[in-house]
């Protein structure tokens, strides 16, 4: 007899236990477990209530027409704290044509079970043993639901954050555009003005204006750079370069500033660094310039030393260390951990005394990180600081040494250029530059006017502002390209002229059909380079 009871108990336990806890989804798990319990124990109804909501069960079968007496349910819940009939059986109730059982689910609440006939002892024992497993599986589902909710909340926060980042990027692009447009006029006409006859006082004033506009441009560029880095949009432009040729003149520029402060600026570039390497010269120059500029800014007496040394060389790579040390004010130990954080300067007083946005070091730190290294600092208050990083560089052959600094203006006389630009100051600037190289030009105030001119006459090149009233530059570009497609006219180079300077803008314009992109404030040299490239290409 005992063997039969044991066999029944074992097989029932096995059959039902296999159906419990197979899913962490509450609905699926409950359906599977409760269905199996009903089927195997030949029940007519089953369900789970928690201790708080006694009106609606967490789950029940059947869903329609089953209403458990609240009186019995409350009684069962009360019995959870009292001595019980069996370990988990809380209440057994004989109704007119069925038996109603309530079992304890310790952490969840109660399980009710309806049956036409009463349970025997063996089955009750089985249920007793399964209650804990069912309880645990429900709790696991709740825990998983909580995790899913947290994950959903985090994803929502991330989404909001991305949206905020996009809004910030757009804001920065707009601000940059609004600042660069008038600055374009200032910088451009400083260059034009410098070519005129000026007396000494005027020259001095012009230098001051030039210095101020350079500072303003530096702040705008820093802000934009930081935004690009912060949003992960900064891409390195790796190309062949010579470290000495790129960095020596960049450091040399600061000699003047150093001598003004009576500081010695010593540059030591390892003689063995004559090899071409693959790197982003602009960004490397930006880091070194920033470190040197800071060192001079924060040093009142003594010296600033720049040491660029070859640490290691293999057949294909160089390992180079960059070190900028000074005998300046140093960084207090309380501030050194935050020195690379954005908008961080060692002390408020420092910012007031020395100026700056506090973005330079943050940008340098992240640029060095992008270059595959880490910028470190050692400093002692009132003794000075040492900033250092090491980068691994692949060896290359240099294609055109000194190409960056020497540019001879080709002869563009007689060429015709259509300029679409709504800003009067910018129109004047472009006119002045183009006149200086004897280029014929037509000015259009917006995209629509430019299209009319474009269809009327053939031009060697079009300079197209992007943000214009009536019709913007991209729409005008599309119309011009469409016109070309339906006429016998060959493709005219169209170059975007824009103060939108965020990363990706250039690529976007080129993807739209522009041949190149010039950013404002317009620099003579850049314009000439583009003219030479595009007009030559068109030939």
């Amino acid at each position: 007899m005992n063997m039969i009871r044991l066999e029944k108990q074992t097989s029932l336990l096995y059959e039902i236990a296999m159906s419990i806890g197979n899913s962490t989804n509450l609905d699926i798990s409950m359906k599977e477990s409760l269905t199996t319990l009903l089927r195997k124990l030949d029940g007519i109804g089953i369900g789970v209530f928690d201790e708080i909501n006694t009106d609606t069960p967490i789950a029940q079968i059947p869903k329609r027409g089953q209403k458990i007496s609240n009186e019995f349910l409350l009684q069962a819940l009360q019995n959870k704290d009292r001595s019980q009939l069996r370990e988990h059986l809380l209440l057994e109730q004989k109704m007119t044509d069925e038996y109603l059982y309530f079992f304890n689910l310790p952490k969840t609440g109660v399980l009710f079970f309806r049956r036409r006939r009463s349970f025997d002892d063996v089955t009750l024992k089985v249920l007793d043993r399964l209650c804990d497993k069912l309880d645990q599986s429900i709790q696991a589902c709740f825990a998983t639901e909580k995790l899913y909710k947290k994950e959903r909340d985090l994803q929502n926060s991330l989404f909001e954050l991305k949206k905020a980042q996009e809004v910030k990027d757009k804001f920065l692009a707009t601000v940059a555009h609004e600042l660069r447009t008038p600055l374009n006029g200032v910088v451009g006409f400083i260059e034009q003005l410098a070519d005129t006859d000026l007396d000494e006082t005027q020259k001095h004033y012009l230098e001051v204006i030039n210095h101020s506009s350079d500072s303003l441009m530096g702040i705008i560029n820093d802000t934009l750079d930081f935004s690009k880095i912060d949003s992960g949009k900064l891409e390195l432009d790796l190309h062949s370069m010579n470290l000495r040729e790129v960095l020596e003149p960049a450091i040399e520029i600061f000699k003047c500033k150093a001598s003004e402060k009576d500081i010695l600026l010593i540059t030591e570039i390892d003689d063995r660094l004559h090899q071409g390497v693959l790197c982003d010269s602009l960004r490397l120059k930006q880091v070194v310039s920033n470190l040197v500029s800071n060192a001079i800014k924060f040093t009142e007496t003594g010296k600033v030393e720049v040491a660029i040394k070859l640490v290691e060389e293999s057949d294909s790579e160089l390992r180079v260390s960059f070190e900028v040390s000074d005998t300046g004010i140093g960084i207090p130990s309380s501030s050194i951990d935050n020195i690379f954080d954005p908008f961080s300067q060692a002390e408020r007083a420092t910012a007031r005394r020395f100026g700056g946005t506090g973005l330079g070091l943050a940008i340098s730190y992240q640029l060095v990180q992008k270059l595959g290294s880490e910028l470190t600092v050692q400093s002692a208050l009132n003794e000075g600081s040492v900033f250092r990083f090491e980068i691994q560089l692949a060896k290359t052959k240099i294609s055109s040494p000194n190409g960056e600094n020497h540019f001879e203006v080709a002869d563009f006389s007689g060429k015709s250029i259509l300029v679409a630009e709504d800003n009067l100051v910018n129109q004047m600037l472009v006119k002045a530059i183009l006149k200086s190289i004897q280029v014929d030009f037509t000015i259009a105030d917006n995209g629509a006017e430019a299209c009319v001119e474009f269809e009327k006459s053939e031009f060697d090149l079009v300079l197209m502002d992007i943000n214009m009233p009536v019709m913007d530059g991209l729409e005008a570009l599309a119309k011009m390209r469409e016109f070309e497609a339906h006429s016998t006219r060959s493709k005219t180079p169209i170059v975007a002229l824009t103060a939108n300077a965020l990363v990706g803008d250039r690529e976007r314009y080129i993807a739209n059909g522009m041949d190149d992109c010039l950013s404002k404030p317009l620099k003579k040299l850049e314009l000439f380079r583009i003219l030479e490239q595009q007009i030559k290409l068109a030939k």
Partner: protein, 372 residues
Amino acid sequence: MKTSFNEQNDFLSFKQDLAKLADSSESGCLMVFICDDNDWDPDQMSAVFTSIEVPLIGGIFPQIVFGVKHSSTGYLIVQSDLEIQPVVIKGLDDDSVNFESLVDEAIDPELQVASMMVLVDGLSTRISSFVDSLFALFGADVRYIGGGAGSLSFEQSPCVFSNEGLFQGAAVIGLTSSSLPVEVGHGWEPIDKGHFVTRVEKNVVKEIDYKNAFEVYQAILAPYLNGKSFAPENFFEIAQSFPLGIKKIDGDYVVRDPISVNEEGHLICVGEMQEGDHIDILQGKADKLISSSSSIAEKLFRAPQPSAGVFVMDCISRALFLEDQFEAELSAIADQANQEHCIFGALVLGEIANSGSGYLEFYNKTTVISLL
């Protein structure tokens, strides 16, 4: 109750008889049972069913039952006073269908439902899931009677119908507010106990006791075959006498009919099984099966029953197993009824029943009877 029973394969007569009974019905419903061997055109049949305005449900079955006769050709039309509302549920072969929400949407919660006549495409793959969902919604306070329509060739074709037309892979439910008494019995007895289904996919049993299902089944049956070989080729011939019994708590079984074995040695059953199902191997003896039918009929008529129709859903495999003795099974039921009771129904591919005493099951090799 009016009936039209014709053992001839005559579609024209069927159309005329159906129209006549429909015209004479002021209320109630029509229940139609058609033999699969008639091989009537599905489109023509569908057109006939959609033209009927009286609530209609029915199916195409291996055989039909009228009195103590059973026939594999012809048709049976029953015009009953029972008020029903036909509902069609499609997608019984579609794994993505959530039957619980589908049925919940299809049946108005305000409708008073005391019983359901449930006819399903017996060769659909998700019958048990569908039956589970009926119970999950309505529970044991509703009485259920029905079975699987379809062909003994085991090739699926449109086989259940209502006024909406003829469907494959679907169920047709006749909902009624009358509480119909239902009895279920089979008479199969265990010969080998204590096995577990350890790997299964729907109706395909892959492993029993963690071993290849066919190898285990073969080994168990070997002593009962008197040296006769048991191979995939003669599987059905032998297996029809040795079904699997899913053990219920009261010691009874939900019988599962293994109808074939595939190349991997997996047993294909009529109806789904679950991992962890405790199974015994059953064997049938004619007298026990007939006695079981007699016993359930006796229970059905124990209380005075004024109703005029005895609705029978008997498993086709019982008829195949009992052969010439099958009429004795129908007689055993008739013997418990009186002269006024008209016995009608079909031999089906799996039976659906619940008398309100426990869980709703999809059975095989079982007899289900009810009174309309």
